[in-house]
Amino acid sequence: MNNRAEIMNDMAVHLKAPAHIPDRELQRFLDQVFDKYGYDFRNYSHASLRRRLRHRLMLSGIDDFGDLEAKTLKNRQFFNTILLDLSITTTEMFRDPAFFMAFRDEVVPVLKTYPSFKIWQAGCSTGQETYSLAILLQEEGILDRGLIYATDFNATALEQARRGVYPTELIKQYAAQFHRAGGKGPFSQYFTSRYDSVLMDKSLRRNIVFSEHNLATDGVFSEVQIVICRNVLIYFNRTLQDRALSIFHQSLGRRGFLCLGAKESLLLSSHRRDFEVVRENERIFRKKTG
């Protein structure tokens, strides 16, 4: 019985014509969202936005994009759902272990010469990468000297990041990546398990400040020695990529490091001459002097 209903349901989804969202309509939607709520997605990658909005159309059983637009503008709660849909939340601990290895080799030795330092991790989402960074600095014995600003525009994701609670089922993968990233001790020393989730150790969080910051609308807030912003710029168009890189450049102190995602590059950017390459494949750059 149940099975049959499920099959019918599947068929309904299967048979429904997929929604096509013309760019003109998407732009109008983004303009209105910005006017009404102040969140600026206009210079985000439209291809990704469209995919997420199409997914929302399907989940909400709304056929027409115009109806979704009307509902978004009328209903704040529905807008919050859209806001979650549009924020980048995919993240994991020690994603791209080679990057963390390179960070140990190239950046940590410099940090060890500083009495104190600040790191800005832009687009921290639910915090996995922030904790990865804290664990690495702890291992290297310099966590206490550092202050990590971990920012995101998504308040819900930040709340999760502050809690530091992650599903146990992911830990095996995280642990493997931790070791491939040069992690030495047992990964389990950094969290306590409870039922089907783990709680990251409080001591890791003592020098992390999680706060709201929107790369599309906010500016520089502090001078830092390192900016880490991985797999965020790919969601922006060239205009917004350049805006973000300008903010990073202004935020970085003398000879500061910039770390991007594995497939992000400065090559197409107007800032390519402001940075020198430290590690090509791991996307570690350093601010040039002058």
Binding site: P18, H20, A47, S48, I234, Y235, N237, Q241, L268
Partner: protein, 217 residues
Amino acid sequence: MKESLEKKRGKGTHKSLLPPGIQKDIQADAIVIGASAGGLRAIGLILSSLPASFPLPILVAQHIHPDMNSLSVTLMQEKCQIQVQEGIDKEPINAGVAYLAPPNYHLLVECDRTLSLSVDERVNFARPSIDVLFESASEVFESRLIGIVLTGANKDGAEGLKFIKANGGTAIVQDPNTAEYDAMPKAALEATSVDFVLPLEKIAPALLTVVGQRRQA
């Protein structure tokens, strides 16, 4: 709409140029290809059969282990006359170039015909996902897109091909009987009506015929 477009471009029908059984007047600006298990060989066969002067861009989503580096691109480039490269974020799409989705990233197309990458959650357990590429390319190229589903052991690409068809594009599926893994071509055939079901070695010649038609027009 389509008719007026064709008129404006001075294109008529050249059915006689198409191989027997191909009864459709195809106008395309881009080709998307999706493959999974057994795909590297199949994609390699198609791409290596195209001349350097091939006038359309080709976007490829091949399921590949996240830790694979770009070795497959290098290997493929060696045996192809057309340029084969990994898709670079925000890079313009050029004719005669095959862009492969990087391992662990989705490949998408922007309205200004540049590429985008994303690390969004896996779709059909895959990143890159064929559906993601097909759907985003279809939004941009609409009816002027050819989608090709090749060998694979899952059903990624079926929804994407359906989307391409719904937007007036052309669908080609590798004949399941000739596919190393037939699940993916079969899923595509179940999801939508397709224009051509072809054995692997007939796919590149069909593409050449289509662009030959385009060039003469």
